[in-house]
Subunit: 881 residues, 2 copies
Amino acid sequence: MNNNKWVYRFQEGSKTMKELLGGKGANLAEMTGIGLPVPPGFTITTEACRAFYLGGCALPADLMEQVVSALQAVETETGQRFGDLENPLLVSVRSGSVDSMPGMMDTILNLGLNDDTVRGLAESTGDERFAYDCYRRLIQMYGNVVLGIPLVHFEERLDFMKREMGCTEEGEVTAEGWRRLIENYKTLIQQETSGAFPQNVMEQLEKAIEAVFRSWNNSRAIIYRKAHRIPDEVGTAVNIQSMVFGNKGDDCGTGVVFTRNPATGDKMLFGEYLTNAQGEDVVAGIRTPLPIRRMEQQMPDLYRQLTELADKLERHYKDMQDIEFTVDKQRLYILQTRGGKRTPQAAMRIAVQMVEEKIITKEEALLRIDETHLNQLLHRSFDSSAELDVIATGLPASPGAACGQVVFDPDTAEQWKKEGKPVILVRTETTPEDIHGVIAAEGVLTSRGGMTSHAAVVARGMGKPCVCGCEELSVEDRAFRAGQRLILEGDWISIDGATGQVIAGAIQVKEAKLSSELEQILHWADEVRKLRIMANADNPDDARKAGMFGAEGIGLCRTEHMFFGADRLPVVRSMILAESREERMKWLAQLLPMQEEDFAGLFRAMGGKPVTIRLLDPPMHEFLPNLEELQQQYYRALEHADQANLVELEQLIRKVRSLHETNPMLGQRGCRLGIVFPEIYEMQVEAIFRASAACLSEGIKVAPEIMIPLVGHPQEIRHMRQVVDLVAERVLGREQNAIHYKVGTMIEVPRAALTADQIAEHADFFSFGTNDLTQMTFGYSRDDAEGKFLNHYLEQKLLPHNPFQVLDREGVGQLIEWALAKGKTANPLLRTGACGEHAGDRSSIMFFHAAGLDYISCSPYRVPLARIAAAQAQLLIENVR
Amino acid sequence: MNNNKWVYRFQEGSKTMKELLGGKGANLAEMTGIGLPVPPGFTITTEACRAFYLGGCALPADLMEQVVSALQAVETETGQRFGDLENPLLVSVRSGSVDSMPGMMDTILNLGLNDDTVRGLAESTGDERFAYDCYRRLIQMYGNVVLGIPLVHFEERLDFMKREMGCTEEGEVTAEGWRRLIENYKTLIQQETSGAFPQNVMEQLEKAIEAVFRSWNNSRAIIYRKAHRIPDEVGTAVNIQSMVFGNKGDDCGTGVVFTRNPATGDKMLFGEYLTNAQGEDVVAGIRTPLPIRRMEQQMPDLYRQLTELADKLERHYKDMQDIEFTVDKQRLYILQTRGGKRTPQAAMRIAVQMVEEKIITKEEALLRIDETHLNQLLHRSFDSSAELDVIATGLPASPGAACGQVVFDPDTAEQWKKEGKPVILVRTETTPEDIHGVIAAEGVLTSRGGMTSHAAVVARGMGKPCVCGCEELSVEDRAFRAGQRLILEGDWISIDGATGQVIAGAIQVKEAKLSSELEQILHWADEVRKLRIMANADNPDDARKAGMFGAEGIGLCRTEHMFFGADRLPVVRSMILAESREERMKWLAQLLPMQEEDFAGLFRAMGGKPVTIRLLDPPMHEFLPNLEELQQQYYRALEHADQANLVELEQLIRKVRSLHETNPMLGQRGCRLGIVFPEIYEMQVEAIFRASAACLSEGIKVAPEIMIPLVGHPQEIRHMRQVVDLVAERVLGREQNAIHYKVGTMIEVPRAALTADQIAEHADFFSFGTNDLTQMTFGYSRDDAEGKFLNHYLEQKLLPHNPFQVLDREGVGQLIEWALAKGKTANPLLRTGACGEHAGDRSSIMFFHAAGLDYISCSPYRVPLARIAAAQAQLLIENVR
């Protein structure tokens, strides 16, 4: 370890050294490098932090030696000396991690002051009051950060002193007042730590460095890292910089500016400043800062300097900057700069403007758009200025904001909707019978059920906000309780499906739309990307919406959703309850024209673009009433000796029980249904071909792709393909050649991936169903895992991400790569795609692109995100090459 | 196709050509080759059969040419001519498939007779009656086999003729009688087919060949192939052989002999014969044949010849032979020989004797033992002579035969058992609460539940017969109904867990034991095999049994079975229902000494052999009462306004519901339990180490291996290993070094196999849990698949085998091979095994051996099978090399 270079002077670094020097350190070095007025200093590396933790929270042996040497260089630059009695150098010690963690770790200012040097500072600045104010600030921060004494103890003593001295504002406190407070602080430290505040300035510095390293693992930093998926093992750098002061008088000041408006993206200096203040005062909110335009009037020269520097920084970094500056006796110093946080709207506008200003290329603009912005591009959201009275939080099942009057049953929902009232449907959980209520509602809220519960799936499919599994909520008779709050039918609530929040009252909702900047960026994305973007859509409305958002076809139409319609469900039930094949055929014959119309509607909406139709997938019992409810009905009928009802209920219960499965996810569903009851799939395929023929005769092009779900063995797809071809021959006859249909399969069972070569021999396309593939590869039932052990795993960091949100590359990804390689070898014409929820997640899209998929299919609202992410993936790969 | 050789004369073939000539053809060729008296003939190949089917059931163009040429050679050998008016050659046409399918396909005899040649036969044999009898037999067989006329039509006419002629026995029928019958048969054929019986002998032959080819696909052949797992696409050969006659007078005869007793294995000629009869007469059972010893008296010279030939054949084929012979006018002919079917007992004895007689080597003896014999080696079975009054058939859940008086609840079972009555426990389905009843019962019968239902798993674990999912059975109040039959409590029934049969009355049961011959063979197997054989055992009794059967350790102890004990379950339930960690710890403290005693018992029983203990695996709710039953209780309490009970039930229902999972197989179980509730696994690990220390202090060696179930991510095993090591340190302190414990994991989640390299870094061993691995790789819930769509798949041949019985090499096997390669690369010391039910299946054991596993672990009763199968696997691999 002896040869390690732990310390870099600002002159030695650059912005490319962020891993080693942290974001702030790299930036200070970069700014120093390009000649900006940065107070001299140096950075202790993140490597030193890791060595600190490896050594059991001890600084590496030779670290302080290197610090001293770097400090000497700073002394030379500033003409001051650390610990000097006449013109003492003061320094700040600040954390600086690789990924920005604003305010999460500790900072100490004014290091280098003690009972002796404070007098030197007073003399050299000619401002005794300022010097002792600095000193008391040091003792306070040191006492809190290094010695762990709660801030409140210091604040109490400050207040006491102010009262004693008859001051209301800190500005009124005299040097004497600060001196008294300093004595008082020293006593406090003696009491709390049985030791004195160190007069040795090197000891101050060493202890401060240790404290900043330790603050990497304070609880708020840990929580922040978890929320932002920042790895724990990186550690922080420490920046030691000579102090400049914005609080030496009215010709001093400090401020923060953005080079553009972070809310709207408008090109203008945007920010605030305070005269005679330190940066901490701006942050702490003790005094209200002034808008930056006022500086133009107060310090026109410095304002011009600042404007020029801001422009220089923006052009240098090629991004909108968030800059901290200080004016120390008419001299402008830049203390920090970084990419500024902005709203999604601002992000789009800035990106487009910067391309127009030739600061960045289109490609850079595309790469600039981050995941959070992508996720918020299109869903309706609450006005960000609104105050939210959050009464409960559930699972964020389907993003978007909704607001309406509470109803508790689907019929009321439908009725009120007709009367023009917006409603939120609140249920313990939803069933297929509630579908008309879900359609009528602005949003859905349930107290039970996970991210794949009926409510969640249906709502997501419709792009409708949904909060589910909100267990704090207890649904009672025409009312629900959330903690102490009772919400009655007709009361207004709002739900945010992106955060899971349930809010009392009506909150203003903003509509989603494609702004002209976003349209521009999407256009650039389309020029770049190789991955085709399709959409999941089950009805013509969704299909049209998908087309509007740029989908190149339908990659997944879930036909079971068509079975839940109010006119369909009774027929579907009769079909399932049929005692013989003949009887089942009779009910299927009734469904045939309905399905034909369903498919014709999709073909018309897509006008010749591919429409991938997945044949019936879920287990039969999903279409039947819930067993527990039936039994309750049964006991009620028993009580009332309702004989007729009893017989019927008994029959129904028997059938529902006979269809009951221990693990329905792994039961009789998907093509297993189609193989055991071929007449069901035959009806669906017939409807597809009839619809195709009908559209053709209207002059509408069709490109049906029939997708067989849950294939695990080559024999299944071989068999089903035969069935499709036979039906095609029977239904289409001579027209068969005019309709170029494809037959493919979902790859969602591990065995399908493992035997992909054999399966590919019978398939025109593979569509990876990453939801089920993740469930089976992990052995996780999503319904049972999320909100239960999976949360625990994520908290304990046994898993890096929720694998249902971010595709697991090591396990599931391996299977996908394996299947692609085998499948394309066996069938070079094989087209490959993915249609799980991962297809709407940026990081997963990166993987899909890298793995070489031809297309992905996501919900209509995720299509714009996917178009950009696909372009980013392509650009990143080109960059690597 | 023109250059194909479709026909082989017997002189041209040998026993190595079974694939081409079928079993019978190869044997006839072999026998001809070693100079046995085989009637001359030739064989049409299985290739010709495949060509026949490929050509749309038409004989290959040049086939009959080759037949004619081979027939000419036969004419030369016999001195007769086919179709000759004076000394006509007659031939038989018989099927002969590669795998024996006795009696499943068709045969036609006496081909070559017509209205003219029959007179020649009468003259050349001097027996008119015989000649016309032959002719009418030909017409009858031809009419039935070639023309498809039901046999009953011929039999009616035969009976009519006999009545007309005043005969009771066929022997009394005169030539005139046969001639009349022949005319009658010809009329029948004319009526049924609008065509005549062909007088052209070559036409007879050609049509007969076609008919035999077609009979490959008659329904009984198809069913037989399915039952014996014979592939459909192989086809049959056809053997054409000159006729010899055992029915030309009392100096003629025919018979079947085994070279050893097929029931006991005793070395003695065993069989039957009939004088003046054809082989078909023996098979048809029209006349009762005589024991072969009588031939010694009647035809001493021929008997000696037969004995010598039998001995020659047995030595030549190195196996007990089943020989068909005919004596035609004092000349002995061998018509067929093949390996004789035998009981498992006989198989063992014959194998050992033949080694002693130096006919075969030990290795050959081992390879001789087939799967069916292995499967029946050790379970109790019904006396094979007993007549069974089968009243219902369920799933064969746990093999073995049991017989006892019917009881319907576990308490009665226990009570009656104490009174000395053997009982069969009959339940709709069993729950953990029934465990004492299962222990008390001779066997278990349920009307619901599949092969992994509670009853099945528990019964198999105990080696106790079980029939489950017997849906024909309806359990009523103290009685059950099976079809028309009503069985009351106390009635005797018998169940066969190997066939699923439920039998009225008490059937004599034979105990399983290791015969001295089996012991000998197992000893040989142990010398050969490389695979170590461990056993699955959850209690000292099973462990001792496993040791007795030769297990080298316990490869799987399922600790959850210990939780089902009557003294444990209430504590386990309280533990699960605990509202806080503290409360849970209290109950766990009660379980600790019980578990300690459990493990100590196992260690004592195994005396230093490895004991692999799997920590708690099943989801919690398996230990709780069934929700549906609770609700019924609740409604009953509601009816009786039983307030106290209501509150308790409500609470219980709430907890059970909160633990309810949609797909429990993929829910909170395995190490997910141990991670979310670490205190449970800590208790178990503590018990293991306490028991280890206790045994050590008694001077008993211990080798505990702690197995973590359901690992899917390396972090899980890393985390659990830390927990184990910490508990070891805490519990054992200094003794830690004296106890060499191992920590390993089940590989039963696909992701574990995919990331086996990372997992192996933290594991001392892998044990492939092939049951769950199969479930997740296929996406099949075994409970929902078996008896439902899986049956359909097997019937439709979409799957070659039930993957829960025979390991799926292509999918699951690929994952295993992958995991082994990755695991051993990352950790060369890794030990690997398998502990699913496949570990007791011969074909799967072959795979495990070939894949390079170190050990397998199966139920104690399967240990002998596994020892032999492992030896066979090693020998087969050596043979290939």
